[in-house]
């Protein structure tokens, strides 16, 4: 399994993702420059967190036009794994690879803190190592992570089970109190219909080692790393 980590000007989780892939998971790592028009044979492309182009105007607005995004769109069409984390999720929405948009947190404040996530899909390449209905602890760090989609889009997402992660309390209850940013339906992460493009606001790469306060994020990286085999077989 070869992971590609995209670097835009203003990206900052690239090195953290790289660290986890390379040092913790021990998978192959390839950084992809935003001006590259070549995914260099990566099996899973990560769009990491940060403030690509300063997030000026709107988060992800300018980044979506980078040459690498064209490739990523085609890669996704071919069924390649694309994983947007935080800013990466925002970029995927802007690029139309995922529905909806991420707007200002309801508090209007940036939030960096631990959240609990209810894992609603475990049949995905990204979550296969999570247990059914598992609650994982993953930190968020964003100012614009409030998920929005029009009612029709939202109900389609729900009906087809495209919500992968929802903010919940420690006991797994999806309650307003556990919603850190005002996301509709407490949505923290969604997947496309085909099941190969995931976007999530929380940062699994920040919790892949227990010394950083928790290691639940590792499950997601391991899921992807382990999925290589299945992709080949299927």
């Amino acid at each position: 399994m070869k992971f590609g980590v995209v670097v835009f000007p203003g990206t900052w989780s690239d090195r953290d993702c790289g660290w986890v892939i390379d040092q913790v998971v021990g998978a192959q790592l390839q950084y992809l420059w935003h001006k590259d028009a070549d995914l260099k044979g990566c099996d899973c492309v990560i769009l990491p967190g940060g403030f690509a182009y300063g997030d000026y105007l709107r988060t992800g607005a300018i980044a979506r036009f980078a040459p690498v995004m064209q490739e990523i769109g085609e890669f996704a069409d071919r069924g390649g794994l694309v994983w947007g984390i935080c800013n990466g999720f925002q970029i995927l929405c802007e690029a139309g690879l995922l529905p909806g948009a991420l707007i200002r947190n309801a508090s209007l404040e940036y939030r960096c803190e631990w959240t609990h996530l209810a894992v609603e899909r475990t049949d995905l390449a990204f979550t296969s190592q999570c247990a059914e209905r598992e609650v994982i602890r993953v930190p968020i760090s964003h100012g614009e992570g409030s998920y929005f989609a029009e009612p029709a889009v939202l109900s389609r997402l729900e009906q087809s089970g495209q919500v992968v992660f929802r903010y919940c309390d420690a006991g797994g209850r999806v309650v307003p109190n556990a919603n850190p940013n005002g996301s509709l339906h407490n949505i923290a992460g969604i997947i496309n219909k085909r099941g190969n493009v995931l976007g999530m606001m929380p940062h699994p790469e920040r919790c892949a080692e227990s010394e950083l306060g928790g290691a639940d994020g590792l499950k997601l990286f391991r899921s992807v790393a382990g999925s290589a085999l299945r992709v080949l077989v299927s």
């Binding site: 203003g10 900052w12 403030f51 300063g54 803190e113 760090s141 920040r206």
Partner: protein
């Protein structure tokens, strides 16, 4: 020589005194032209020249085994082991923040980051130290500054891992905004900003130059009075995105040997960065052509270009002939770079506008020519003394505890630090909320602890002793994580030193810092002075010498945190309590007075207690540790419970005479920690304590969901949490 050639309004505009002007004319043997006058004005400002504090600052100790770079460079550097150096510095941005809190604070963060980058280090952490007037009156300052610090740090992707915030009337018009940055670099890649090698090129990289903040440096050197409305356009808007690109490009640059030095552009812009860079090499000079400087605006004069304080710019000294390599690195990051001049050996800074010479000044006149100001200090009236026996006895310690925990100076800082990304970098092992923050050094077992501290109320009551306390408290915070204090950076925030009492405060503050750092063997490797923190008609600020400190733990697996961990662990007080309440938060909150002197400080005992904690931590005897500071023992104990999510049961506290109950619970005697230990580790800890001649006493046992002193008070943890967590919600 007369002032005929220059009118006094012009002098005031560049913030030079007639005496200083006379010195300039004498040294130059001619009157300076307007560009030269402007350049000298900024570099001779207090902010750049330290003319008031320079001689006093020499008293600070700056040598030490680990020191790789002391004061004089963009930041200090110490060796921390495994071939790594920690680079760090603190800086003030008080005046800009008073006027435009968000941008003032944001650009303060941007500036200190560039100082660390200039040393070739990758910035890994930010801290802050903030002071405001009381809420809700100072909301605008508070909200703007906190948002600005987060806005810059979050965007650039450097975690803000610690800091401090206090509220006091004296800061209502003069908020204090200090930012500290810590970076890492391999010892052998540490860079110095020296313009070495005649003929090497000077390149300006990063943002285009606009008319930002012209006279900003001189502006930071005057009182905030009616003048400031005129100078308001001096506010700059930061671009953290651009700085992120600049940072990455500079990291790439540090990998090549095409580069001789990197120097940030801060206060006084191009003038000071070129002069400082050349000034560090005896005999060196520089030649620059302002027409080559990329500009954001039309119609800028050489004066504007030389004095502009546009943010996010760096000066790079490049090996002659290798400019294109540098240009390539910057263009990869979509950054402009331009060769604007070269290094000479004539000891002068010569400024051209194409072919015309618009300024020519000796480097040493710029960097070192400002005549030191020798002022006289006069001790002010001492603060009212405190007679303990006139205080009513403590009736309900539980009620007092709740009020103290809810007071803005002691309550939870979560509403602040959760707005800062404190995790990016995957290194934050101990996050904000406890004592010092602790970051791991990836690829090693090393942990780097860092903190900022200052109890300015103590400094107000006794600037010398207060400054000593600031050092001691910072050291305790480092020690409470299990790390060994290593080195210090300081930011001296004071009022107008032209007033004899303030100058006296400055002298005393520096004397106190020096004494404490000597006693604890802590070199001061960098720092900053911010004077004139007073505004017409309102009171001056308390002397606020913020101490930034770093420390090292050899294996961060042995780190300590504040929260109680296991039911049934013994909870102990390390160190002994004095019968003292001077300057305490308890006096302020419960009795509405600020009086007495700060608690006595025995630096030898501090060192002994610190050594004990470190030895016990290394031996694995401690489950948690927290120092006692503002609010005293009971507040510290409550914090151990709150952060551990676990209560404590204690027998009644019956201090031996003459120790009063209020002093035992809420007195702020230094040199004390609350620790928890497994019962089986008790005997070893007792032996160790005896060996270090430190007193330890049993307070109680961890567990349950109440905090209780039998027969004295009993509170639900939830109730305590409620008080503590809502203290800032005005």
């Amino acid at each position: 020589m007369s002032l005929d050639t220059v009118d006094s309004r012009r002098l005031r505009e560049v913030a030079l005194t007639p005496e200083e002007y006379r010195v300039i004319v004498e040294k130059l043997r001619r009157p300076p032209n307007m560009v030269e006058l402007g350049m000298l004005g900024v570099l001779w400002s207090e902010h750049c020249s330290y003319k008031t504090s320079k001689t006093l600052l020499r008293r600070l100790p700056s040598a030490g085994e680990a020191v790789l770079q002391g004061p004089g460079e963009n930041a200090g550097a110490v060796e921390i082991g495994s071939g790594w150096a920690a680079v760090f510095k603190i800086e003030s941005h008080n005046h800009p923040s008073a006027i435009e809190p968000y941008q003032g604070a944001a650009t303060g963060v941007g500036g200190i980051i560039r100082d660390v980058i200039a040393m070739g280090a990758r910035p890994i952490a930010l801290l802050d130290s903030l002071r405001f007037g009381p809420l809700p009156g100072s909301r605008r300052h508070f909200d703007g500054v906190v948002a600005g610090i987060g806005g810059y740090g979050n965007c650039i992707g450097i975690p803000t891992v610690g800091g401090e915030v206090y509220f006091d009337e004296c800061y209502a018009n003069n908020p204090i905004v200090n930012a500290m940055c810590v970076g890492l670099v391999r010892v052998d890649r540490l860079m110095r900003a020296r313009a070495e090698g005649t003929g090497n090129s000077l390149m300006l990289v990063g943002a285009d130059t606009g008319r930002d903040g012209i006279h900003g440096a001189s502006f930071a050197s005057v009182e905030l009075d009616e003048l400031s409305s005129e100078r308001r356009p001096a506010v700059q808007v930061g671009n953290p995105f651009l700085e992120k690109c600049l940072l990455e490009a500079c990291m790439d640059l540090a990998q090549t040997d095409a580069v001789v030095a990197v120097q940030d552009l801060g206060a006084a812009g191009l003038t000071s960065s070129v002069a400082e860079c050349a000034g560090r090499v005896p005999g060196a000079g520089a030649r620059i052509d302002v027409s080559l400087v990329p500009r954001r605006e039309r119609g800028m004069t050489p004066y504007d270009v030389m004095l502009s304080e546009s943010q996010e710019r760096m000066l790079v000294v490049v090996q002659r002939g290798r400019e294109s390599e540098v240009e390539r690195i910057f263009s990869t990051w979509d950054l402009t770079s331009a060769v604007i001049g070269d290094v000479t050996d004539d000891g002068h800074l010569t400024v051209f506008d194409q072919t015309e010479v618009v300024a020519r000044l000796p480097i040493d006149l710029l960097t070192d020519g400002a005549p030191p100001r020798r002022l006289a200090g006069v001790a002010p009236e001492p603060a009212p003394s405190l007679r303990l026996d006139s205080l009513p006895p403590l009736l309900d310690p539980g009620e007092s505890l709740l009020r103290l925990l809810a007071s803005p100076n002691l309550c939870s800082r979560r509403p602040i630090f959760r707005r800062y990304d404190h995790m990016v970098g995957d290194s934050t092992v101990v996050a904000p909320g406890g004592d010092a923050a602790l970051l791991r050094v990836k690829g090693t077992r090393l942990g780097l602890a860092m903190t900022t501290d200052c109890n300015a109320r103590y400094c107000h009551l006794d600037p010398n002793l207060g400054a000593q306390h600031a050092v001691a408290e910072a050291a305790r915070n480092i020690v409470a994580t299990g790390a060994r204090p290593l080195a210090v950076t300081d930011c001296l925030n004071l009022a107008n030193p032209d007033r004899p009492e303030v100058y006296w405060e400055l002298e005393e503050t520096i004397a106190g810092l020096a004494q404490a750092c000597r006693a604890l063997e802590l070199p001061i490797v960098s720092g900053n002075v911010s004077l004139y923190n007073d505004s017409a008609g309102t009171s001056a600020i308390h002397p606020t010498p913020v101490v930034g400190m770093i420390g090292v733990i050899d294996d961060y697996a042995h780190r300590l945190e504040v929260g109680l961990k296991h039911e049934g662990d013994f909870v102990l007080l390390v160190g002994s309590s004095l019968n003292d309440l001077g300057g305490s938060e308890y006096l302020k909150v419960e009795h509405g007075t600020v009086a007495g002197r700060p608690p006595p400080l025995d630096l030898t005992r501090e060192a002994a207690v610190n050594r004990l904690i470190l030895a016990a931590a290394k031996a694995g005897q401690l489950r948690s540790a927290h120092d006692c500071a503002d609010g005293g023992m009971l507040v510290a104990l409550a914090e151990c419970c709150l952060l551990g999510g676990m209560g404590v049961r204690c027998p009644a506290l019956r201090p031996e005479a003459p120790l009063r109950l209020d002093a035992a619970f809420f007195g702020e005697t230094p040199g004390r920690f609350i620790v928890s230990v497994a019962s089986r580790a008790m005997p070893e800890l007792q032996t160790l304590a005896r060996r270090h001649h430190v007193e330890i006493s049993l307070l109680g046992m961890a567990g349950g969901d109440t905090v209780e002193f039998e027969g004295q008070f009993r509170l639900q943890l939830d109730q305590i949490r409620q008080a503590w967590e809502t203290g800032l919600s005005f």
